[in-house]
Symmetry: C2
């Protein structure tokens, strides 16, 4: 059956491409390496995706479509603010332990190619901060949390959760621990980060 064979090959290519692009980025990746990893030849890559650029975009969109729902959880979930921070922190860290290269990949490629954001905004379900803003401002009015700009709080939540993965090699060296101990630190952050945030804003 041709159909099945096609789908398999295409999937194999995407799996291999993800791995290489996530590790080396657009500029550092080689089509040959992707072909080797997918156990096919270079010509097939072009047969299925036409160019390196298009293959890259497929991988990028796929990575972003995994990351976006994670961010949605802070921004558009209905739960109470403290619950939300707790859940997000725990879920997000589990998510990244499972897909370690995604956040760095997305952020890195957006840095070299900031116009890509526009494509994402129009073509994907791009998260919006509006609801989170209302929620934070309500909590401030109700005297549940100290005054803080919703944007700053959001940046803080994201920073505390994402950065330890992006900065891993640097942080590991600075904190002076091996990979195993660092992983234990990250595991602890599933609860430590939300405590840290809530301690800071709770009245």
């Amino acid at each position: 059956m041709d159909k099945i064979k096609t789908e398999n090959t295409e999937t194999e290519i995407l799996i291999a491409a993800k791995e290489i692009f996530h590790q080396k980025g657009m500029a550092g990746a080689r089509m040959q390496e992707i072909a080797d990893k997918a156990q096919i030849n270079k010509a097939l890559l072009h047969y299925y995706f036409r160019s390196k650029q298009l293959l890259f975009e497929a991988v990028f969109k796929s990575a972003f479509s995994l990351l976006a729902p994670q961010l949605q959880k802070v921004l558009n979930d209905d739960s109470d603010l403290f619950e939300k921070i707790k859940n997000f922190t725990e879920n997000y860290i589990s998510f990244v332990i499972k897909h370690p290269y995604i956040p760095n990949f997305v952020i890195q490629e957006l840095n070299t190619n900031p116009e890509f954001v526009n494509k994402l905004k129009s073509e994907t379900n791009f998260p919006s901060i509006d609801k989170f803003k209302l929620q934070v401002n309500d909590a401030i009015k109700l005297g549940v949390i100290r005054p803080i700009e919703a944007e700053q709080l959001f940046i803080n939540i994201i920073a505390l959760n994402i950065f330890p993965f992006i900065g891993e090699p640097l942080l590991m060296a600075l904190v002076n621990v091996d990979k195993e101990s660092y992983d234990r630190l990250l595991e602890n952050r599933k609860t430590e980060v939300s405590k840290f945030i809530i301690n800071s804003i709770k009245i």
Copy 2:
């Protein structure tokens, strides 16, 4: 005078190379582009630095030697813990506003090449966390701050300060503001971040 001319050219090359490498990374940078920016030809790049790799390493070490003293300020400064957090936050954000590409560059290249850390540890004055750890543990014993692992606190401080610059394109899109407003947010973080941290740990 040959000597002076040499030093000028070498400096020009380094300035140009920094700009290109910081923006595009090792894999994305082109020797031709560096030569153009330095207003010389490719051959001279090789005359002074022998290879792209060596030129890159010169740029990388120079970037790290600017970043390291900033980190030293959290780790090895003699001031009181709260003062230290305040000063670091304010200084660090000013530093990055001045050298916007450095943290991302260092972190990114360490990610693609984690063994580089060893070179840095042996060849540069690499910051150590030991003193900071003692200071945090003392503050906990004295009842000045809530119990927290020094490593986690350190990671939090670095994350809150560095990430907003590394994740700028993504955060700008999520927070849904233009560059000008985002810069205002960053400027406010000079004081907001230390308040956020101190609120969280202070008893």
